[in-house]
């Protein structure tokens, strides 16, 4: 058997992408079986049956894994095609944050994290790619939801919020976890791909969601920044307002 050279690693990025693609099928199988069993249980027992709660949890976890894989695939493909840029369009920040909240809601409940939507003030449209921005915020959200209980934050609360800054509008996720610092993010970016736990102050795992968000935002000419929202700490996407539509 020929041994692969240094230039041809055994598991290339493309193979990892294929594995990620293929992993969605077993997760979907688990999700479907759990749903089917829950449907059958509902016919025989009352809603308070603990089995129903377990089945719901299994389904939510599997569906979350599928979304994570989808977002990973999206971000990884963008990162591999360095020149690739997502097409920008006028996007409503409020509506993206609302939809992000909807997608994160089930997982937040599982982890006992209280999810809040804070949209004080009017924000005009920004230039972004809607599905890209949403994937980035959802990826970020998964990592933070997983991380918050392990940080022993005062309150396991995550706020989806937007505010104006001197560069435009920042849309992001905020909590009272002080570990979300500029230094932690800078260090994480440096260690990503080299360390098992690049965001060691923040996430007990690989913190992949943060880097996926990074890659997606870069492909839409935006960036992920550490930011503050009132007294909370968080990570957000810096977005340019769409001046043309605001004039109209």
């Amino acid at each position: 058997m020929r041994r692969p050279s240094q230039q041809q690693p055994i598991l290339s990025e493309q193979v990892l992408l294929s594995i990620a693609e293929q992993l969605k099928t077993p997760f979907l199988q688990i999700s479907h079986r759990a749903e089917l069993m829950a449907l059958a249980e509902r016919h025989h027992t009352d809603q308070s049956n603990p089995v129903l709660a377990d089945l719901h949890e299994i389904q939510t976890t599997s569906d979350t894994a599928i979304r994570l894989l989808d977002n990973y695939l999206f971000g990884a493909r963008l990162a591999l095609e360095e020149q690739y840029q997502l097409q920008l369009e006028p996007v409503s920040v409020s509506s993206v944050l609302y939809d992000t909240g909807q997608q994160l809601d089930a997982m937040a409940k599982l982890y006992g994290v209280e999810l809040e939507l804070s949209l004080n003030g009017k924000f005009g449209p920004v230039m972004a790619n809607r599905s890209g921005l949403q994937s980035a915020l959802v990826s970020l959200g998964y990592t933070l939801i997983e991380a918050l209980p392990s940080l022993e934050a005062r309150h396991s609360r995550l706020q989806l919020a937007a505010h104006r800054c001197r560069y435009g509008i920042v849309a992001g996720l905020y909590s009272d976890a002080e570990q979300l610092t500029v230094e932690a993010l800078r260090q994480g970016r440096k260690l990503q791909g080299h360390a098992r736990q690049p965001l060691s102050m923040l996430s007990p795992g690989s913190g992949a969601g943060v880097f996926v968000a990074d890659a997606i935002l870069q492909a839409m000419d935006s960036e992920l920044k550490v930011s503050r929202h009132h007294r909370l700490y968080g990570l957000g996407a810096v977005l340019r307002p769409n001046q043309q539509i605001q004039l109209v």
Binding site: K24, Q29, H32, R33, E35, L36, L39, Q59, D70, S131
Partner: protein, 135 residues
């Protein structure tokens, strides 16, 4: 209602089939395009749920053959597929206008309950009686 489910994955096919049967439909499962054509020939389906990623002949090839028979031209076909929205959009026009795909659903994010709802509530199927809904 009689459903032709074209699904190459055995386990997914089993759950989808069970859910649709529990909702009161009869289901014929086909893993390949060729078996799907034979199944439709044996009994005309009221609706086809189609995975586009099939072994050997793709879902698009299946549709070209399926639509070439005049009897089957009006049968609604719903794409229930692993092909993500961004990739599907490239073929959306062809599938919709030339091959009569009436709806697209990204399978990894479509629950069994939603699959039953798609079948039960599709406007082209609203005049077909005896539909049991799954909540």
């Amino acid at each position: 209602m009689h459903i032709l489910l074209v699904e190459p994955d055995k386990l997914l096919a089993r759950s989808e089939c069970q859910a649709l049967e529990q909702a009161g439909h009869s289901v014929m499962v086909a893993a390949t395009a060729q078996v799907a054509i034979q199944a439709a020939d044996e009994r005309r389906p009221d609706i086809v749920l189609l995975e586009l990623q099939l072994v050997s002949h793709s879902g698009i090839e299946f549709l070209y053959e399926f639509r070439s028979y005049s009897d089957w031209q009006s049968i609604p076909v719903v794409a229930l597929t692993q092909v993500p929205p961004a990739e599907f959009s490239g073929s959306a026009e062809l599938l919709k206008h030339e091959l009569g795909v009436v709806a697209y659903h990204y399978k990894p994010r479509t629950s069994l309950t939603k699959i039953c709802r798609i079948v039960n509530e599709h406007p082209l199927l609203s005049d077909i009686p005896n539909i049991v809904s799954v909540s």
